[in-house]
């Protein structure tokens, strides 16, 4: 038995931390389904693994939406849908059993912002994530997409790497034999790209993070996801036509599953993991026991040449991983990292594209205007008014701006109180046209109040949060507290 075994038994964690820093090849599979923990372990490996090592890390996450480092959650995520899932509401058309099962798995759906670039994706347990960390000199965006494609081809020969470094399944007919590409060519498959079912379907998307010493390439692999339509639903934000944002917008692609046998989730996953480890081991010249022992109790290895092992919740005991996990969970990272954006109900100088009228709530007069600018998740300026009279609109806008300015969007539970605080202040009553002796008639008052409530409800929809239901019954006693 090599001498380090003794050290490992005396302090298992210390030994692992040490091995991460020295071992040349490392392969890990996470038992945890916590997206924050898995991303935190990944980040730890990125920062602490030996500079010339190559690391493969496989993990699955419980249902979550993962947005890229420089994305805007309000632009990418359909929070209405997230809240519906969280409230365990059953989607129309679902059979009772299926929906009960689905809701049970999706009710804890979380929103995650990763540290790498790229666009928004949805994970669930039928999606396997891979992550490869290597020295920058070995890094190209295609290299590991090609290795993953090799593994996917063991399950589906239609797979290939496309121009965006993603992996897609060609949908067309089998090519004539003389036109088959070299089997080693991962950029062309034996099939026509397009078929009667449409264009190639994306099954794996990639993102990257490059630091001073290391390059990280991670990606998703949709194996047997039973809820593909839900992915698209969750990523359709109602606010998209109204937001103009700096940062990175997602590129939409139709998605598919690598395997057609959706009931064989576990065996498909095990095959895929084994094939991926095999392709990785061959590509990096690693001892083949890393692959041949996979699935048996002999798989675990802890040497300076090769570390292979399962990881999970026990890594919470490592301070950096624990702190990284809470940082990823924090609102400061999740929302505060949002690049500057403008939400506007109408075309503006900065963003002159037309707004779809049907998105604008009924009951609001055409004179209503909402303009809100936010930086790092904090509101920096607003102009919100409903009156068609410039002077009144100005008073309304000033008052609301005082209430909203410097607030974090993610801390606003409901916009209604913020729009109506000080609403019956004398400044407004006196200047309200059509009123006699400066006091608005009750009828008018009630009507404008309703309009404010519509405006607030629209803002609540546009700038939703995953946490609390936005469709609350508005009652005076509730919101003026």
């Amino acid at each position: 038995m090599p001498p380090h075994r003794n050290v490992a038994s005396s302090s298992y964690r210390t030994r692992w931390k040490e091995l991460v820093g020295i071992s040349k090849h490392q392969i890990y599979i996470s038992h945890s389904h916590n997206p924050f923990l898995n991303l935190s372990i990944e980040h730890y490996l990125l920062q602490k693994s030996s500079p010339d090592s190559t690391v493969l890390f496989l993990y699955r996450n419980a249902p979550c939406i993962v947005i890229g480092r420089n994305q805007n959650p309000w632009l990418e995520v359909n929070f209405e849908e997230v809240q519906r899932l969280r409230r365990l509401e059953v989607a129309p058309g679902d059979t009772a059993a299926a929906s009960a099962l689905a809701s049970e798995r999706w009710k804890d759906i979380s929103l995650v912002r990763r540290r790498s670039g790229g666009g928004a994706v949805v994970h669930d347990l039928d999606n396997v994530n891979f992550s490869v960390i290597c020295p920058p000199k070995d890094f190209t965006r295609d290299k590991h997409s090609e290795i993953v494609t090799q593994a996917i081809r063991e399950l589906n020969p239609r797979a290939r790497v496309n121009a965006r470094h993603d992996i897609v399944l060609d949908q067309g007919d089998l090519l004539a034999k003389q036109n088959w590409p070299d089997p080693k060519d991962m950029h062309r498959s034996m099939f026509e790209p397009e078929g009667p079912n449409g264009p190639p379907l994306k099954v794996s998307g990639s993102a990257y993070k490059l630091t001073r010493q290391r390059a990280l390439h991670h990606g998703t692999c949709l194996l047997t996801c039973r809820e593909l339509p839900r992915i698209s639903q969750l990523l359709h934000s109602p606010a998209r036509p109204f937001i103009q944002a700096r940062g990175v917008e997602s590129v939409r692609s139709p998605v598919g599953n690598i395997s057609n046998d959706l009931t064989a989730g576990t065996s498909v996953r095990q095959t895929f993991e084994r094939e991926l480890i095999k392709a990785f081991v061959i590509a990096h010249g690693i001892k083949n026991e890393a692959y041949s022992n996979f699935g048996s109790t002999h798989w675990t290895s802890e040497s300076e040449e090769l570390v292979t092992r399962y990881v999970g919740e026990e890594l919470y005991r490592i301070q950096e991983i624990r702190e990284g996990e809470s940082e990823l969970r924090s609102k400061k990272w999740l929302y505060g990292q949002t690049p500057q954006f403008i939400l506007s109900s109408h075309p503006t100088e900065e963003d002159s594209t037309a707004r779809p009228r049907w998105r604008w709530p009924e009951g609001l007069p055409p004179s209503a205007r909402v303009y809100l600018k936010a930086k790092s998740g904090t509101i920096i300026s607003t102009r919100i008014s409903i009156s068609r009279y410039d002077q009144v609109a100005q008073v309304e806008a000033d008052r609301i701006d005082r209430n909203l300015k410097d607030r974090n969007i993610h801390d606003v539970r409901d916009f209604l109180p913020l729009l109506t605080i000080g609403y019956d202040a004398p400044e407004l009553s006196q200047s309200s046209p059509g009123s006699r002796r400066g006091i608005p008639s009750p009828g008018k008052y009630k009507k404008s109040w309703g309009m404010m409530s519509h405006t607030a409800s629209w803002l609540n929809t546009m700038l939703g949060k995953p946490g609390q239901p936005w469709r609350t019954g508005y009652g005076h006693s509730n919101y003026l507290r």
Partner: protein, 181 residues
């Protein structure tokens, strides 16, 4: 191009031309050639004026991580950016995370990040000090970093803690050799 290498040429022209020449990018080389011709075609007065403003700059220095720093003449402040080589390697930049003003950093610390082709890449400061200004142009037009990484696409200005740190970095010629490897 022999005149460019001579030290008698006004400082800024020589620095720019050198640094641009050092890049493998054909556009940059073309730009360098154009730039090196510019001062000669200008009337003498304009030449004098450009000499005065450029004289406040010291020679640009480069790091292994493809960042550059250009110190002011008194060595108290410096401008930080990424090299032509790095900008080309990154691909189309779609977002730049700029550092906060007053951020205290030591050499090698991350002062921001750029995103290009689904990659988030850290930008490190070549030198220790305090950030005094970030280039707001990059917030609105991130592509500036691809177009002119070593001039208009600078990332931050820093109050330098120890100007001697810059002397350990590569000059344009050494950096050119480094990137040619």
């Amino acid at each position: 191009m022999a005149a460019v290498a001579s030290l008698r040429v006004p400082l800024v022209a020589s620095i720019r031309a050198q640094s641009l020449n050092s890049c493998a990018c054909p556009h940059a080389r073309l730009a360098a050639q154009l730039q090196s011709r510019l001062p000669r075609s200008l009337p003498p007065r304009a030449g004098v004026r450009s000499f005065r403003t450029s004289a406040t700059l010291q020679e640009k220095r480069y790091t292994n991580d493809h960042e550059w720093i250009e110190l002011s003449e008194d060595g108290k402040t410096g401008k930080i950016g990424i090299s032509h080589y790095a900008a080309k390697a990154l691909g189309d930049v779609v977002y730049v995370e700029l550092p906060a003003v007053d951020l205290e950093v030591s050499a090698g610390d991350s002062i921001g990040a750029v995103e290009s082709v689904k990659s988030a890449s850290d930008i490190m400061t070549p030198i220790s000090g305090k950030i005094i200004e970030a280039n707001d142009i990059l917030a609105e037009k991130p592509a500036t970093i691809n177009k002119e990484p070593e001039s208009g696409g600078w990332i931050a200005k820093i109050e330098v803690a120890d100007p001697a740190e810059a002397e350990e970095l590569m000059d344009a010629k050494k950096y050119e050799e480094f990137t040619a490897e």
